[in-house]
Every structure is written in C-alpha cells, then in structure tokens.
C-alpha cells in the first residue's frame, strides 16, 4: 500500500492502490485529457499531500441511488476554477490503519456527469464499496 503526500497540518495522506488505479485511470485513453488530469493530480498529491480544504463530502443518500457515506471527493483538474469547469472527480474512502492513522484511499475516478449510458464516478464508487451498481 503506497500512501502519497507529506504529513503536514491540513493535509491528508492518500493511498493509490495499483489495481484501483488500473481500473479507474489506466482504462482511459493514454494522453487523453481525463487520464492526464488524473495523473497530474496524483503527482501533485504525492508532492504536496491532499489539502483538506479541497475535499468535499459525498452523499450518503444520493439522488442517483448511490450511498457514499463517509466518502470524500475532490474535483479535477485540481485548481481554483469553479466546480462547473472541473468535470471529473476522485472519490475516496477513509481507511484507518492498525495504529489508527487515517488515510484517503482512491476508490473511483471518472466523469461527474457522463453521457446517459455511461456510469458516473459516483456509481463506480458505489460499486467498489458495495459490490454492485445502485440499480442492480
């Protein structure tokens, strides 16, 4: 388990599992904008940690049927632009290690509002948490 980011006040360590990264990011076209945004964000998090104030809480009872209680998200690209100009998101689950240190673990990456037949990042996160899509 590799965690990224210095342990600084206001920063939360992040774990990027290799299998999850493969299924969420490496599935995307190499050099495409979505994949590039995720790779850049991971590099930035590795270098500086995840700023706590960039995080948003996910919905425990989403309108799309998703249940992402105790999950956090960050919109990508990582910048100060309005959310409407950042079409993708990392969704993280919080995990505690044996000594109760808390980290974010990536569970999904994708579009927040994809075309209708494509699953959103929230639906993918729901499946990774619960083993099935909300409508299954």
């Amino acid at each position: 388990m590799a965690t990224s980011g210095p342990r600084r006040p206001g920063r939360v360590p992040v774990s990027f599992d290799a299998d999850v990264w493969s299924q969420e990011v490496e599935r995307l076209r190499a050099r495409g904008p979505m994949r590039a945004a995720a790779e850049r964000a991971r590099e930035e998090i590795a270098a500086h940690g995840m700023p706590r104030d960039a995080l948003l809480a996910c919905s425990a009872d989403g309108e799309d049927g998703t249940s992402l209680a105790r999950c956090l998200k960050v919109y990508l690209p990582l910048n100060d632009r309005p959310a409407s100009e950042r079409p993708c998101a990392f969704v993280f689950e919080l995990a505690a290690s044996g000594d109760d240190r808390v980290m974010l673990r990536l569970i999904a990456y994708g579009e927040r509002h994809p075309a209708p037949a494509t699953r959103s990042v929230y639906e993918r996160a729901h499946k990774r948490l619960h083993g099935r899509y909300p409508d299954q």
Partner: protein
C-alpha cells in the same frame, strides 16, 4: 453501392455479468433505457482492499469527529 448483410454475434450475457473483449474486462450494466451497456470492469472491492492493506473503514463516530466539518454539495 450495394450493402452487405452483417451477421450479428449472439451473446448469452445479462446485466451483472463480467465479459472480456480484446483482452479488456467489462461489466454488463443497464443502459437505463431498456438495453445494456458495457462499463470498464470493477473487480476489486473495498472489503478486499481493507483486508489486503490491514485497514478498516472509519466508524461513523470517527468520521464525524475528524471530517464532520467537510462540506458537501449534494451532487453525489
């Protein structure tokens, strides 16, 4: 120009199945319009990640104490 008949490959799959096409895995999912769609597969789940890494999910109390002040936007 005359058209050529195309024979469809019949697939015996249903929503929830995992299929492999050209070396890549896909979940068969509903397209929410009465049909099906293929979604890049998710085959590693949270419980397995916790077991593999020796971690556990935060309890509701721990979450509220440490991250209860993180705002949401109601999107998902």
């Amino acid at each position: 120009m005359s058209g050529m008949a195309v024979a469809a490959k019949r697939l015996d799959v249903s929503v929830g199945d995992l299929v492999e096409i050209d070396g890549r895995s896909y979940d068969v999912v509903s397209d929410k319009a009465g049909g099906v769609a293929l979604e890049p597969a998710i085959t590693v789940f949270s419980a397995e990640l916790h077991e593999r890494d020796g971690t556990r999910p935060l309890t509701a109390e721990e979450f509220d104490e440490q991250f209860g002040d993180v705002p949401g936007d109601g999107e998902g």
